[in-house]
Symmetry: none
DNA sequence: AATGAATGAGCGTTCATTCAT
DNA sequence: GATGAATGAACGCTCATTCAT
């Protein structure tokens, strides 16, 4: 079917593909809006198709199920977040740990801010909905955890990071501190003007130096 | 008739009350087990009553609905956790911040370990299930957040805590670091031997001094 | 059991019987009140026992089921109504038809007025609840119908009643006219002062002479 | 997209609408049959969908609930009955009262005969099922009552109706006599050949002249 | 005799998914 | 490809009835 279409009407096929992608995106967008307004469980497929203005059956042409939509949304957010972390170099010749961390945190906060509705849903209810969603989230946080451990180990080797640190537990702590600020200020305080710079600085200072005065 | 019944039934009433409490506890326990195995949403009341070995209707003698059971479980865990934090003094004459924090963290980790299945469910899926559950959790984390902010402010006044700290954001960071360690090691690594002392020390060292070497 | 009790403790048995009868009557009364307030279907046995202030199980000591209570109530009302009709003589030497009919109608209206709550329930919802209730009501109306037919036949024989009358259909008409007045004024107009004499007169005049002027 | 669909789908939409109406009617018919066989309360939605040969969910595409079906049936019967009464003129220049009444009664009896199963259910159990049903029935009987009162008053003014008549009570009597004949012969004697003309004549003669010989 | 906790069949309803058009 | 009517399994919940105490 594919090859035949390609041979016969390349332009038409291209156009159709574009329309398909548009439709898919439109449904996805409607789903974000609806999930964000009503919550995942309170959202029925009826709600999504109504919001998207498409027929029930159309939904199933683009997505297998409600959890498939959610997975697609998750993938989108995770891809954005990953893109902002992956770029950071943890090698020996790289920038100092503080500057690096500040950079990462800033990017993560900005991404979450941009995709606020999405981040909101995923922070609020992403766990326990679906085994596949759980796995992806675990994998994502796992990779972040590994990344942080590596960075800490490198730091220890370079002497910048305290050698007595439990890198495993500390990586969790760093991750948790960022997540909590996000959850606290992005999700729960919906109206609040979120000052990325302030929070990024606070997180980094806290992570680098702890709370004690010198 | 009444007085006679009252006199006579006193023993019977007491006994009945005890049996009632036992039954309730039994259903609750079965609910924890089932929630923990299948997840909240995947658990039907049919599953709970089957696990408890009672009739469907019996369930409704003790609980209004599925979400009522969950609320009861949440209350139980929160009460335990609160009991372990409330005792800590943050006044000026109190023990040094590090010792206090270590104490709290140790207790929280132990409680979560004791009520592992419960903590597991609540960490994994407590948000977005039910408005009342959400409120209670928000209130709980809110009170922890306020407690931490107070402690930090006090520390700043006493000079132990860095004066440049953003106490609001930092309180979130501390909270997040503890939550994440719990989630990471209690929930996701079910089999693992959890070394309370090691993690408590790591969390406290991290929070007090950050990751940087001096 | 009976004889032994009688021999041994006549007074005690008597007393117990009296208490039993009282309890039964009390439950019955509570049931009338509850049925009348909420309607038969909306009334649960829980409602009745609560209104009566007895335990659930106690109810079943006196009545088999909800419909049994209703049957008992029906029997009570029918017995009252029957007592007021049965006494009337339709023989040749009796009082003139008009006077007899007036007497019956007056008694029926009064009985319904006295047992208003009961009449209300039975008029409003007695049909279709239960096969046995239906049968009793059919039997009651059937006996009224037969009674009216006999009276009309006698009247025809005595020359007081028009010979061309369809006694079967006319008996239904008479019955219906009385029922409708009862339903209209007793049930639907709850507050209204019900003037028995006025309605009795109107019913009788209508039944004897129709609506046409002479 | 829209306009194209509209143009294209016009025929399809029409057809779909027709099919919808058919289905609805089919379910309605099955409901009449089932209600009539088992009674309203003894009929579950499971019974109706089984009788109609449709899925449980399909029922809810056409009706909100069991009582909605009943309301639809009631509306149907009442519309038929109303159509047969509304046409009758009660003005001064109209036909004599007897002829008019005969006409109405004949029509009412015929309608009830045509919609026998429906009339059966509604006569037997329409009251006390549902507040909305009750209201509609009360409204219907109320309008009949008012209609009869007007006719009687007109008759009194024209001298045809006895001036001493209590028009209110008598209107109830007339209504009741017709209802009772219907209930007696249509509902309770299911098998019987119902002679409309005979009963219409009997009802009218009774109502006009009463039972007394002149 | 009285109790009320326990029972479980049955209910109305929802909603993700399918499929004929 | 798009539609939306149809599906039916599964759900939470009610309540008349039973029975051990």
């Amino acid at each position: 079917m594919e090859s035949k279409a390609e041979v016969k009407a390349d332009g038409r096929t291209e156009r159709a593909t574009a329309i398909r992608a548009e439709r898919r995106a439109h449904i996805l967008e409607s789903a974000i809006r609806t999930f964000s307004e009503k919550g995942y469980h309170q959202t029925s497929i009826a709600d999504i198709v109504e919001a998207a203005g498409v027929a029930r059956g159309t939904f199933y042409l683009y997505f297998e199920s409600k959890s498939t939509v959610f997975l697609a949304l998750l993938d989108e957010l995770l891809a954005h977040l990953r893109a902002n972390v992956v770029g950071v170099e943890v090698g020996p010749g790289a920038a100092p740990l503080g500057a690096q961390l500040l950079d990462i945190v800033r990017r993560v906060l900005r991404t979450a801010l941009e995709k606020r509705a999405l981040a909101d849903i995923i922070f609020r209810e992403a766990i326990g909905l679906d085994e596949e969603v759980d796995q992806k989230l675990r994998a994502f946080y796992g990779s972040l955890h590994r990344f942080l451990m590596e960075a800490l180990l490198m730091g220890q080797q370079g002497g910048a990071v305290r050698g007595t640190l439990d890198v495993d537990a500390t990586a969790s702590c760093i991750l948790g501190s960022i997540k909590q600020v996000l959850e606290q200020y992005l999700v729960h305080t919906a109206e609040r003007d979120f000052d990325v710079e302030r929070f990024a600085q606070a997180i980094v200072q806290y992570n680098l130096n702890g709370v004690l005065a010198r």
